[in-house]
Structures are given as structure tokens and as C-alpha cells.
């Protein structure tokens, strides 16, 4: 008998589907419900960080290959600053 027999991979004891069904409905899905309740009720609004012009943040060595080239793929104007500052703050200064 080889230590590792690939023919046996995927073979499991029979008559255990019921066990996994019970684990699904009694353990796995309730855990999701609890974690979802925790995630969506315990959420606190985090104030955005004041803009600070660190040289290692908001790096633009080349333009992004989409849009105006200055915004990342998942850009969120409210919480993602551009290199010169948050868009609404920059607009106020102008």
C-alpha cells in the first residue's frame, strides 16, 4: 500500500451525506447569519483621515489606463483622495 495513493483521493466513507447536510443547516448557515448580523449592526461610521501629503500615498508614476487616468478602478471620491487632496476639498478651494 503506497503512502500516497491518488486513486483514493475523492473516495470517502459512504452514508455521510446526512452528516454534512446537518452541519450545513445547523452550523454553517447559522454562523453566516450571526456574522452578517454582527457586520451590519455593529458598523460604526469611520471619519475619513484628514488629507496628508505623504509621498508614498496616492502614487502616480503612470496614468491609470482608464477614465481620466487619475483614479483607481474602485475610486471612491468621498474617502479616496487624489494626489492634491480630497476632491470636494479641492473644489472648495478653487
Amino acid at each position: 500500500m503506497p503512502i500516497f495513493d491518488i486513486r483514493l483521493m475523492g473516495n470517502m466513507p459512504a452514508n455521510t451525506a446526512g452528516l454534512w447536510k446537518r452541519v450545513t443547516f445547523l452550523l454553517a448557515l447559522p454562523a453566516i447569519v450571526l456574522c452578517a448580523a454582527n457586520a451590519f449592526t455593529g458598523h460604526k461610521h469611520v471619519e475619513r483621515e484628514p488629507f496628508a501629503k505623504y509621498e508614498y500615498l496616492r502614487r502616480r508614476t503612470k496614468r491609470f489606463p482608464w477614465g481620466d487616468g487619475n483614479r483607481s478602478l474602485f475610486h471612491n471620491a468621498e474617502v479616496n483622495a487624489l494626489p492634491e487632496g480630497y476632491e470636494d476639498e479641492v473644489a472648495e478651494e478653487d
Binding site: 491518488i6 486513486r7 483521493m9 454534512w20 456574522c35 483621515e49 508614498y56 502614487r59 471612491n76 474617502v79
Partner: protein, 262 residues
């Protein structure tokens, strides 16, 4: 093709798909170069179309060979198993490179970042909110896919359907939550090495979740078309192995990048 083989192996017929797959891959990566340098996405899109048409028809042919033509003997499935294991091994090493980059930067943060991790100015995610929910979702989907597998081996068609359906649903739910996290992220891929390693690791994991979900959806469709038997269902097993791999990668991601590195 002979129906009187005196050997258990599958001598494959001539097929155009390796050639068109190579053409598709070359066109896709050339298209990426053109996209990034000339801001023109057309060649990239063409390459993806060629690749998608190729993979659809190639795997369709493999399903036909295995399901209808009876060419996947026991000996052939052993080769398929080794192929899938080696593919998953290459994926493991793919992710090792992202974790290596992450640990390289996070274990000894550069003085320019304030010698701290996360770097000054980065607000990281709370790991005990949506990321914890995503962990529960992937672990649960590991349970549901195992339920489907055991049901299949017990010849229970309806339970297999339910298990696979739940698994696909959970995969989609994970992707929706991850997209929400990306949109709400206070940092971007361009925000220091933290943002780069975060989005590279979680981004590629997210793509693998999409691929795994698609793989499982294809298995669900094949199952509904009665392609699988209790003894002959390696396509499903490959999808389940891949899904368990995606699950394990997320556990490492969650513990190292969200929890410890957050």
C-alpha cells in the same frame, strides 16, 4: 476511432483548441501591452473573446469524451487527477509570491513609511466585520460542497443539486461583499506598498473565487443534465478541490492581511 481498444488510455483526436488557445493567450497579453501603453482596449477584448470561445469548446469536448464517449477510463482519470493537483500546486506558488511581497514589506516596514505597519495615513479594515462574515461564508461553502459531494457518491440527485446550488450562491454572496469592501476602501492600490499588496492578493483571490464559482455552476448544470454518476464525476471533484483551495487561501489572507496586518 476504434471501439476495440486493447489498452485503457485515451489517444486524443486532432483538436484545434491548443492552437486557438495559444492564439488567444498571445492576443490577450499583447492586448494588455497595447492597453497600458496606448490606452486602447480593443486587442485585449479580442484576445479574451478568442480565449473564452476556446476554453468553452475545449471543455465541452472533454465533457463529451468523458460523459458520452466513455473515453475517461480509470487510468485516464488518474492522469486527470494528477493534472488537477499540479495545476492547484502552481496556483499555490502563485499566491506564495503575493504573500512573500506582503511579508517582505510588513515584517520590516521601511523608514519612509514611518517604520510602522500599516503605514501612516492608511486606515485598514476592521477584520471582525465584513471580512469575518466572508470567512464564515467561504467556510460554509466548503461544507455545502462537501455535502454535495457525499450526496453524489450516495446517488442522491436532489441533495447534490441543493448542495451545489448553495455553494454557488455563497460564492456569489462573497463576491458581492468583497466588491462592497473595495468600493468603501479608504485606501487604493496606489497608496503605498500596503495598498499594492492588499489589492494584488485580495484581487487575485477574488478572481479565483469568480473562476471557482463559474466552475461549480458548470458542474451544477452538468449535474442537472445527468452527466455525473456516483462513480464517475471527476469534473465535480476537480471543482471541489479547487474550491477548497480558494477557501484555504482566503483563510491565510484573512489571518495575515486583514487581521495581523490590519
Amino acid at each position: 476511432m476504434s471501439t476495440h481498444s486493447n489498452h485503457p488510455f485515451h489517444l486524443v483526436d486532432y483538436s484545434p483548441w491548443p492552437l486557438t488557445g495559444a492564439i488567444g493567450a498571445m492576443t490577450t497579453v499583447s492586448g494588455m501591452v497595447k492597453w497600458f501603453h496606448q490606452y486602447d482596449i480593443s486587442l485585449f477584448v479580442l484576445g479574451n473573446i478568442i480565449t473564452i470561445l476556446t476554453v468553452y469548446q475545449w471543455w465541452r469536448d472533454v465533457s463529451r469524451e468523458g460523459t458520452y464517449q466513455g473515453l475517461h477510463t480509470y487510468a485516464v482519470t488518474i492522469g486527470l487527477r494528477w493534472g488537477m493537483i499540479l495545476f492547484i500546486l502552481s496556483e499555490v506558488l502563485f499566491f506564495v509570491s503575493f504573500f512573500w511581497a506582503f511579508f517582505h514589506s510588513s515584517l520590516s516596514p521601511a523608514i519612509e513609511l514611518g517604520a510602522s505597519w500599516p503605514p501612516m495615513g492608511i486606515i485598514s479594515f476592521n477584520p471582525f466585520q465584513i471580512p469575518l462574515l466572508n470567512t464564515a461564508i467561504l467556510l460554509a461553502s466548503g461544507v455545502t460542497v462537501t455535502w454535495a459531494h457525499h450526496s453524489l457518491m450516495e446517488n442522491n440527485h436532489s441533495q447534490t443539486t441543493q448542495g451545489l446550488f448553495f455553494t454557488v450562491l455563497l460564492g456569489i454572496y462573497f463576491t458581492i461583499l468583497q466588491a462592497y469592501e473595495y468600493i468603501e476602501a479608504p485606501f487604493t492600490i496606489a497608496d503605498s506598498i500596503y495598498g499594492s499588496t492588499f489589492f494584488m492578493a485580495t484581487g487575485f483571490h477574488g478572481i479565483h473565487v469568480l473562476i471557482g464559482t463559474t466552475f461549480l455552476l458548470v458542474c451544477l448544470l452538468r449535474h442537472l443534465n445527468n452527466h455525473f454518476s456516483k462513480n464517475h464525476h471527476f469534473g465535480f471533484e476537480a471543482a471541489a478541490w479547487y474550491w477548497h483551495f480558494v477557501d484555504v487561501v482566503w483563510l491565510f489572507l484573512y489571518i495575515t492581511i486583514y487581521w495581523w496586518g490590519g
